[in-house]
């Protein structure tokens, strides 16, 4: 029994010693020994190596011998360790002194700082793990002892927090929608096609935010807390229309019950505060409208700034071939057909670049080319003017139809404007493509011209459309006056029928459906935009189905019984038109921004449309398209599309702002009815909802005497920032030139005649040899002998430093023309480099 107890005690002591020993070994012997220990004597690893050897073979006896020898090794090692540990224990004190603890703490903090930058260091995983374990062991030691409990607790909380952050990040990455779809497309078509889908996903995110704003703060409060349908005239379908209010044709046209609902501006009541929450409905409507625009600006500009930072300063043709060699292979490709295409296009691009480099460009007929280009531009201008006039003409006609009553005309007349705009948007770019064949530009420049022309086309169309809309608005406003006059007459009529009482007229209950209604130009505008978006969507989908899918089906199945090879010849499979699709997306978003104020349902519609587009286009791309033959990069295209988006954002918010600021709202519909201008709601809120001093402060702030100097200050700040950025760019260019000049000087020096050729060869050969023989580049060394080197801070992480202050390891050797003996210098350089 006693022996048992003693044995147990001894076992416990042994265990405690083992744990302490591990700690101390790390502290005193450093990383190298740890590496050795890890490589050798981990008991489980030993078993594994035994197993591996057994698997590899050898007879039974060999195995026995090996096992025995290993056992002996293990016991001797353990004995050695115990001896060492006993010696150390005799030397050390039992508890750590406070200074030691402080030093420990500093070391741990240093390591922690290192760990935060660990991700950016090119160390293999093993090294990173080692430094992490080091910190953990120390933190454990620091936590023991009196008064350190708080520290240990803090450390534990920090660890838990880091774990939580990493889990959150993993979760967020897993939540990104459509990741697998995009990956598949990327591997088949390369990164340029996939960039369209990534752009689509980004737009989807923005529209989700816009939708949540309009839905949550405008539509839902009015639906839940506002007066229900049918309670007041503006919320009820008028008696004349009630018979047809539920017809599908009417609903598809956004009339009937769709018109008198939260989807459009006209439904909203101008009551200042609704429901038990006292929700300020008109204020919310106005602020949401402003907020969506502000949010969009913020997001677009932030993305542009981020892209600009990554781009690193614009176009540079000084590294043409180098970039071709090192960045042309797209590592995302995971499909043999695409890889074949990529190989072919890389070869072609190299051949072209070589040809361009070899012969000087001989424009054999500059005049012809210039004439052709001028002709092409003239044709394009004609096209644009023609399309603008066509839209104007069609809109005029539709106004005439509206005046005569839409019921007399068929479907085409009713939807003429939208159909014409969509068709123009479909066919004119093809026409531009054909015209651009005259111009004979480099494909990248031709693409830029094409994009510019399509941009001008869409812009022209949109603005013509808006001008036509303005005409209609003015018509409606003229109508308002008449209706107002009629209303007073009708009301007088109503009261005439009852017994006239002087003091208080009894409230006459009139069914809201019977009250004559004033015209509502805002709802009309909203409806127009919604119709435009729907027809645009339909056109896109139908073009996709016919142009891509039907074409692919025909090519595939008619190929057997056709004279020429359809797949290589005329129709063949279509390629995915990245720029056209991106432009379509951008313009669609512009229309949303324009119309969202008057039709709160637009962001919701767009969200649905983008969702469907994503699935439909992903399917169409994989099913009907082939990878592009000619792969060149529209340079800096990322920021190019963002810049276009910004311009569209600006141009589409202009009309909305103009109408808000200058046109009085309708008197009979919407949240601003009864006010003289829509932004009066702000004034009203300031007066009634905020304390008096706030209103005073605001009135002082909006004093022109204060606003003008502020604007001036901002203009000055912009000018200052612009000029500093110009100086930075200039400085950058100067540095580049200096770099080139220095390297040119080197070439000149190398070819100076007074250097004997033998000496030069000898020198250059020796310096190269010496560099070969030296155990240089500590980072590589650290990488190769993974566990060998300690966690030395002398390993310099790679960074982009300007080449002038070079690291001393990479000395090119003394310049040959340098005063002094080249021979001795040569020896010095080889010696010094070897000693490293």
């Amino acid at each position: 029994m006693e022996e048992d107890k003693k044995w147990k005690e001894r076992a416990k002591i042994r265990k405690r010693k083992r744990l302490k020993r591990e700690e101390q070994q790390d502290q005193e012997e450093g990383g190298q020994k740890r590496g050795q220990r890890r490589g050798q004597s981990h008991p489980e690893m030993e078993e594994k190596t035994e197993e591996e050897e057994a698997r590899r073979g050898g007879g039974e006896e060999d195995r026995e011998r090996r096992r025995r020898s290993r056992k002996i090794e293990r016991t001797t090692r353990m004995k050695r360790r115990k001896r060492r540990q006993r010696r150390r224990k005799r030397q050390r004190k039992r508890t750590k002194s406070p200074e030691e603890l402080e030093r420990l703490k500093e070391a741990v903090d240093e390591r922690k700082k290192l760990i935060t930058t660990l991700r950016g260091k090119p160390w293999p995983m093993r090294k990173k793990l080692e430094s992490q374990l080091f910190v953990e062991k120390y933190e454990g030691a620091l936590g023991k002892g009196r008064g350190r409990k708080l520290y240990a607790y803090k450390v534990m909380m920090r660890k838990k927090w880091m774990k939580f952050e990493r889990d959150l990040e993993n979760f967020k990455t897993a939540c990104i929608p459509w990741e697998m779809k995009i990956k598949e497309i990327e591997s088949h078509f390369g990164s340029s096609v996939a960039s369209y889908f990534i752009f689509l996903r980004w737009m989807y995110g923005i529209n989700m935010i816009l939708f949540s704003l309009t839905f949550g703060l405008v539509m839902v409060p009015e639906a839940l807390m506002g007066r229900p349908y049918g309670s007041i005239p503006r919320k009820t379908v008028p008696r004349e229309e009630q018979a047809s209010a539920m017809d599908f044709a009417v609903l598809w046209d956004w009339g009937g019950y769709a018109k008198y609902s939260v989807l459009f501006y006209g439904y909203y009541n101008n009551q200042r505060a609704v429901g038990w929450l006292k929700f300020r409905m008109p204020l919310s409507y106005f602020l949401v409208g402003v907020g969506t625009v502000a949010y969009s600006y913020m997001v677009v500009i932030r993305t542009m700034a981020r892209n600009a930072k990554e781009d690193g300063g614009g176009d540079d043709t000084s590294f043409n071939f180098s970039w071709k060699i090192f960045t042309s292979w797209d590592y995302l490709i995971g499909n043999p057909e695409t890889a074949d295409n990529k190989f072919a296009s890389i070869t072609t691009s190299f051949k072209e670049a070589i040809v361009e480099e070899q012969e000087s460009r001989k424009d054999d007929n500059i005049h012809l080319t210039r004439f052709l280009r001028v002709l092409a531009n003239f044709l394009v201008l004609c096209c644009l003017a023609g399309s603008g006039y066509l839209i104007y003409f069609v809109v005029r006609r539709s106004q005439k139809f509206a005046l005569e009553g839409l019921d007399n005309y068929g479907w085409w007349e009713r939807n003429e404007v939208n159909m014409v705009m969509s068709l123009l948007g479909m066919f004119c770019p093809m026409l531009f493509d054909v015209i651009s064949a005259l111009e004979n530009y480099h494909p990248r420049i031709a693409l830029q011209w094409q994009l510019g022309r399509i941009f001008a086309l869409f812009l022209g169309n949109l603005y013509t459309f808006i001008i036509a809309l303005m005409d209609q608005i003015n018509l409606k406003r003229a109508e308002e006056e008449i209706v107002k006059f009629n209303m007073t007459a009708w009301q007088a009529n109503l009261y005439n029928g009852t017994i006239p009482e002087n003091s208080t007229a009894p409230p006459i209950t009139v069914d809201p459906a019977d009250v004559p209604r004033g015209p509502c130009w805002e709802t009309m505008v909203g409806q127009e935009f919604v119709r435009l978006i729907i027809s645009d969507t339909m056109t896109t989908y139908i073009t996709l189905l016919i142009g891509d899918f039907l074409r692919a089906v025909l090519v595939r199945f008619l190929n057997h019984c056709w004279c020429w090879d359809l797949e290589y010849g005329f129709p063949s499979y279509s390629e995915f038109d990245v720029s056209g699709n991106v432009l379509g997306l951008i313009f669609n978003q512009g229309m949303i921004w324009m119309g969202a104020f008057y039709a709160p349902c637009l962001p919701a519609l767009n969200l649905l449309r983008l969702h469907v587009s994503m699935y439909l286009q992903c399917w169409a791309v994989m099913c009907c398209n082939v990878p592009q033959e000619r792969v060149f990069k529209a340079s800096g295209s990322n920021n190019f599309y963002m810049a276009m988006l910004l311009v569209i954002l600006f141009l589409s918010t202009l009309p909305a702002i103009y109408t808000i600021v200058s046109i009085p709202p309708s008197f009979d519909c919407g949240p601003f009815s009864g006010k003289s201008r829509m932004f009066d709601v702000i004034q009203e809120t300031l007066e009634s909802d905020f304390p008096a001093w706030f209103g005073k402060v605001f009135s002082y702030a909006s004093n022109p005497g204060l606003v003008l100097p502020f604007l001036l200050l901002m203009v000055l700040a912009i000018y200052y920032l612009h000029s500093t950025s110009k100086t930075y760019k200039h400085a950058n260019l100067e540095l580049k030139k200096k770099l080139q000049a220095v390297s040119e000087e080197l070439i000149i020096f190398m070819s100076l005649p007074h250097l004997s050729s033998r000496g030069r060869h000898h020198f250059s050969k020796d310096s190269r040899d010496s560099r070969h023989s030296s155990t240089s580049h500590p980072v590589v060394q650290g990488y190769r002998n993974g566990r060998g080197s300690a966690l030395s801070h002398s390993q310099i992480p790679p960074s982009t430093r300007p080449p002038a202050p070079r690291v001393h390891r990479y000395q090119p050797g003394p310049l040959p023309g340098h005063p002094g003996q080249p021979a001795s210098r040569k020896q010095d350089s080889s010696l010094s480099s070897r000693s490293r």
Binding site: R119, P124, F319, T327, W329, Y331, R784
Partner: protein, 181 residues
């Protein structure tokens, strides 16, 4: 932790600063389920041969797959442990910083592992990229042109700094040197 089977201890998870380490582990395991244990808490020493790594769908069409595996593997032969595998995909992911990618790209294109990209390395790269379709003259011309452009210290080969100076200005470097998993 509530899982029926913990693949990594909590410490190991903290140490691997890679996102989606579980996904990557399962991909690694799928390459050779019989060799890779499910439980990594004892840090077993398992190494997958290059043939398995090179047959992954993300890598099998890449002309540089052998070099990638060699650069990231511990033994320099292309046989990768889980650590190496995670390293590889973390460097090639979107989140890796530009300098780190440039460093590893340099190592990948340095075929003879002498810490310099010399003319022979360039020729090998070019031939891999074009599948030997260019003539010898063209290859020579391109390599000379690249040396002219990028070699700043004029020693006839690209050091890490020359390479980095050139590659960080490239507009598509980040988007092409990227593998999604």
């Amino acid at each position: 932790m509530g899982n029926k089977q913990t693949i990594f201890t909590a410490q190991q998870l903290d140490a691997y600063q890679v996102s989606q380490e579980k996904l990557l582990f399962h991909r690694y395991r799928d390459l050779a389920p019989q060799l890779v244990p499910l439980d990594y808490t004892n840090q077993p020493d398992v190494r997958l041969p290059y043939e398995l790594i090179g047959s992954m769908p993300e890598l099998k069409d890449n002309p540089f797959r052998q070099r990638i595996a060699e650069v990231f593997s511990e033994d320099g032969e292309g046989n990768m442990t889980l650590d190496d595998f995670l390293d590889m995909f973390s460097v090639l992911s979107e989140m890796a910083p530009r300098d780190l990618k440039a460093y590893y790209a340099f190592k990948i294109y340095d075929f003879n592992n002498d810490d310099f990209i010399c003319k022979s390395d360039l020729e090998k790269t070019l031939n891999k990229l074009t599948r030997n379709e260019l003539t010898e003259d063209e290859v020579r011309m391109v390599c000379e042109k690249v040396m002219d452009e990028a070699d700043l210290d004029n020693d006839g080969r690209l050091s890490l700094e020359d390479f980095q100076h050139m590659i960080v200005r490239a507009p598509d470097f980040l988007s092409t040197f990227h593998i999604r998993i």
